[in-house]
Subunit: 350 residues, 2 copies
């Protein structure tokens, strides 16, 4: 736990599509939640697909260095409109989003899944859903290692290399155990060690080793395919899931779907060593089809703001946002504009 | 389409746990379905975890050569009882099951998902679910490539290498397009090309190229994380999914879960060049906890038998099994013994 700050120097990256709209509401709610307790200083950064189209820049080194100096980063969404062929596929994702996660050593990609009262799940009998996924954020199959031999010929070979280190696995596993210890004391490792033996055994051995430091936490293991089944048949079995970068990507979208959709799913890219700012973002993308119409749900962005406050030691303020969101969701009936949702939650936390 | 055979020389590998029970029912139904049309010659092979414990053998070369001479392989399930630490984790899976798939070049791992009338889905509003996943079966992250450096030390590095070839991708993509052309004419590639750029681009380019041969088939693309969401919110959007070995493993367990559970999920490991026998197996495992009690559902094994007949050119016989299963499922009420389910379906196809 860090000391609660009196001033937060926040970088805001609204991004593309619905990013600016939902980020504006998250900022509105953050301001209301901290009130006079904390001085909130904001710096906007224009980055993303639109910015790349205008300037050819994804994330210049100078901008990265500026971002490093902030206490935290609030990020909306980036992404070109589907079918916009001017942007090489995946370029913004890799050169902006993944570059930030890797450069700022966001080794804990935290994604809570909670089915709020009043939210419809696609599951017939969801039960209580309340778990967090601790997804490794800086290695695994996301390192960009791999290559192409004889590309474009009938003899092409393409490789992807998953890199996993004791350092990288241990720190995220320890973080996950600590979170489980503060929750319902159950940790589930999700991997595929019967096939991916080298990485799998590193993960399994590490969980066994770190478990000794947390005798109060019960831990089990699921192959990623079996985890799929439990996520739709018995999601309440989960408390904390720890998994690698790619399995975490897959598991968290399914987790978001069963707990009411990515419109509500918040996430935090955490540097738990605090050697660089952490970044907070809704799991959803830029949704260009509904951008600028004030119809996007800002809840995921607002909840990401709560994760930001908690990471900075402002637990009570974070909780206030979460409670206000929970009450707002429970009372939702018709469609409201993006800003109206933000207004309502901001009013509730003021 | 091959000419319908008058004789099938079938290898049967019952395996462990519930494998023998469900395989016996699949054989019973196969016999009833082909009647006097086809002479069914069976050879049993004892293989699996129990066999390894007794002999130390997983899949000896001589046995593999014998298996090669059969027209097809019917396989139950293998796997040690959970907690049985005498068997190195994943050994049987890799040295037996994956070795068979790779040695016999089972490049199409076919897994249909169909929600039969009368079957409960965990989804509140599943709609019509009727799609097939064409999972690549001989490469990707399943090749066993990778390694460990400085194992067991704080400086350990573990790698997993996904190998993808133009040869391997093209043949499975072409197979998937051909299947889509014979169905609702829609193919969805599932991958993660925004992150796994080398493999992803090979898959994407191959789909674009092969699409030209199938102008009647509409194709689209989903990142694997987005596919998770659609599988629980709109599974009827899918007709044929084509994907790599690991994504296919993940997608098909979720697909089985939403369409009524792995107790009903059949699969075929197909060598479509017919240079070696194909293998037919239920997606479920050996379920040692319920083994030998005649409580396992043999439906997945029976439906795998139908896939076997279809692969050998006995379409009408395959369809008879599928219809009988569909009727049997629709009329299910209380629990029946494993053999009673087999008896009922066998009677219906005779
Ligand atoms: C956009 C993409 C690179 C990203 C990921 O794969 O991590 C996204 O899917 C996510 O989950 O945040
Ligand atoms: C047992 C295991 C190796 C196998 C796989 O991963 O392919 C299984 O999960 C399957 O889907 O058939």
């Amino acid at each position: 736990m860090t000391d609660a700050p009196h001033r937060i120097d926040l970088a805001v990256i609204p991004g593309d599509g619905i990013g600016p709209e939902v980020t504006a509401e998250a900022v509105k709610v953050l301001r209301a939640a901290v009130g006079d307790d904390v001085e909130l200083s904001l710096t906007d950064y224009e980055l993303g697909a639109e910015h790349w189209l205008a300037t050819g820049e994804t994330l210049p080194d100078a901008t990265l260095e500026q971002l490093r100096r902030h206490d935290a980063i609030l990020f909306g969404a980036v992404g070109a409109a589907p079918g916009d062929t001017r942007i090489p596929s995946g370029l913004i994702e890799r050169e902006f989003l993944l570059k930030l996660r890797f450069s700022l050593d966001h080794f804990v990609n935290l994604r809570p899944s909670k089915l709020y009262p009043g939210v419809a799940s696609p599951l017939a009998d969801p039960g209580v859903i309340d778990f967090v996924v601790v997804r490794e954020g800086t290695e695994g199959p996301y390192t960009g290692n791999g290559g192409t031999l004889r590309g474009g010929t009938p003899h092409e070979v393409a490789t992807e290399v998953s890199l996993n280190t004791a350092h990288g696995v241990e720190r995220v596993v320890r973080d996950a155990f600590a979170r489980a210890s503060g929750r319902r004391k159950k940790l589930t490792l999700v991997h595929k060690h019967n096939v991916l033996v080298y990485a799998g055994h590193l993960w399994k051995r590490t969980v066994e080793a770190v478990a000794a430091e947390f005798p109060d936490v019960h831990h089990d293991y699921l192959h990623v395919d079996a985890a799929m089944i439990f996520l739709v048949t018995d999601p309440s079995r989960f408390d904390v899931i720890v998994t690698d970068n790619l399995f975490g990507d897959i598991v968290t979208d399914l987790a978001a779907a069963v707990s009411g959709g990515i419109g509500l799913a918040a996430s935090a890219n955490l540097n738990m060593d605090r050697t660089a700012p952490s970044m907070f973002e809704p799991v959803h993308g830029s949704a260009p089809d509904i951008a600028g119409q004030q119809v996007a749900d800002p809840t995921a962005a607002i909840l990401s703001g709560a994760l930001l406050l908690r990471h900075l030691g402002l637990d009570a303020h974070a909780q206030r946002i979460e409670q206000a969101v929970e009450q707002d969701i429970a009372s939702r009936s018709g469609a409201r504009r993006t800003s109206a949702i933000g207004d309502a939650i901001a009013a509730a936390v003021s």
